[in-house]
Amino acid sequence: MLEHHPDLTASVIYGLGWLYLLLFLMNCAWVWRSYHQDGEVKLFGQGVPVASIWALYAAMLGMISTAHLTGSNNPQMFLLRMPDAFKSAVDSLSGPVSFFSLSVGLFVAVILLREWIVKPTVGWVLLNASLIFLALSMTDYDFRQIVGKPDNVPIVAMLFICAYFTWLSFACAVENDKRKAAGKPLYSQEKNDKILVWPDLVYSELICMVLVTALLVAWGIVLQAPLEEPASSAKTPNPSKAPWYFLGLQEMLVYYDPWMAGVVLPSMILVGLMAIPYIDFNKLGNGYYTFNERKFAISTFLFGFLPLWVAMIVLGTFLRGPNWNFFGPYEYWDVHKLELLNNVNISEWFWYKVMNTKMPVAPAGSDQATQIGYILLREWLGLVITVAYLAVLPPLMAVTVFRKFFVRMGFLRFMVLSNLILFMASLPIKMVLRWSFNLKYIVAIPEWFFNI
């Protein structure tokens, strides 16, 4: 490891002090809540209120905060920092494969463990853990360079907001599902929480509007938008990143031809979202939160949104560095990081490896029809696979896993649904194929700008 910068500076330590102070105050409030709501636990044969454990934790945070706020005179010697062993372990484990598996694993875990996660205490512990992780990571120079960039601050905020609303919707859904199972009325019906639009709703909206505007103005003044060097057609910044909300698309472009990733798949996403009301045949769950009654719809949507969109934004923002290589969160962005990949098309693999011959090429000067024939012959395997994927799989799904769906939806709606799902699945499939077999294109016909 080359020592290119100080990990910690006085201002960072001072700033973290304020963050811990905030955390301390938040936890003081939580102690109060816990004192009134949580009962006691048995510790060493004695009943101890849960609140006392939280109080201990809050006191610790208070001390940490004081240490930061007063101890910034010798940053080199400051001890509260992310351990190097942890950093190198995370860096060596991280890669596109582990990142993607982790995000999918997390997604599955959230759905399976939803009844446990939505408990307020669990939610609070997760929030604290993520904030402390962020605070400790901030003591690393490379992490701070990327996560603390003014450009990237909204993305960190977005992550917390996204997690919070997912948590909230699951909390409401689990509550309603429990009520349904017990034969009780829904939460919103029992605790009639209806309010008047005028004045209650309009007033709270007005207050929100004022607060958000004030926040945006303050943000705009405090964090300056970064300006880069003047644009030049001869020089592309390295790495060159799309606006953050498009980083999912940019990551898709790594695996697909611009036509597919830039035109076909995005239009499929838009059209698919518009088609949802028409292909949805489930009449339950209308106007209230539920998970059990809409398992398929909610999981499919969340899969497309969380691992395939939000996680791709995270990957693109924080983990893609110069030359679009993958970098661990604490890794130095080395422009010369060497990652050799030799990507092959299916046709190359088939003709060179399996058949042990050359690729079929039309003899020079042959007419249009012969050339087309040769190109189709060259790519036959990929074409067959693609056609099979889009034409054979849907009927197969109709008679196996989706049999009930097929019966209830009818032919046309089912075909639309299955094709949309297959298109969505094509992204992770292609990613996995690229990582495991260095596959470039399934069908590669650059002559016609047709690469899949």
């Binding site: 030049s232 020089k235 060159s240 790594v254 697909y256 031809d257």
Partner: protein
């Protein structure tokens, strides 16, 4: 003029609706044409497509010259790695994936694109990342005065079998 009058008379005879639609179509059509006019500016500030780049001896074997990249968007490559022949050729600096400008990495001996990570050998042939085809060559020849001359109005694509074209390279033994 006559046509417009004719159309108006015809529309008036037919019905007010037809006239309204005709007028609308006419106005929209003219507005579209007016917009399309912007595609053909009166002055075009572009570097000339033909330019001299000095004698062949300026370009040593197995080196990529960045000299003309900023101004004209070409690399001059002299190498014997493409099919074992000693060639000088000019590669366009446009990535064949989505059009970013790759950079030549001397240490790794490859062109690497910062946008989605496509990599190309010194020959211009793609080998990593999503780029579906090799970088394009532009025209190169030895002018009458013995200097190399690039002609960016021609381009040669490997996958179309155009790299055998004699205007797409210059014999490297002249260097």
């Amino acid at each position: 003029m006559l046509i417009i009058i004719g159309v108006c008379i015809w529309g008036a005879l037919l019905s007010p609706f037809a006239m309204a639609w005709t007028a609308l179509a006419g106005v929209t059509g003219i507005a579209t044409l007016g917009t399309a006019r912007f595609m053909f500016p009166n002055v075009l500030v572009e570097p000339p497509s033909k330019f001299k780049i000095g004698p062949a001896s300026d370009y040593p074997l197995n080196a990529v010259s960045n000299k003309w990249k900023d101004q004209f968007g070409v690399w001059i490559v002299h190498t014997d790695q493409y099919e074992g022949k000693d060639l000088i050729y000019a590669l366009s600096t446009v990535c064949t994936h989505l059009g970013c400008t790759p950079s030549w990495l001397d240490g790794e001996q490859k062109f690497k694109c910062p946008c989605h990570g496509s990599g190309f050998y010194i020959t211009g042939v793609n080998f990593e990342g999503p780029a579906p085809r090799p970088l394009e060559r532009v025209g190169l020849r030895i002018a009458e005065d013995g200097m190399l001359e690039v002609d960016k109005s021609m381009k040669f694509q490997e996958e179309m079998g155009q790299w055998v074209d004699a205007t797409s390279f210059v014999d490297g033994s002249l260097a």
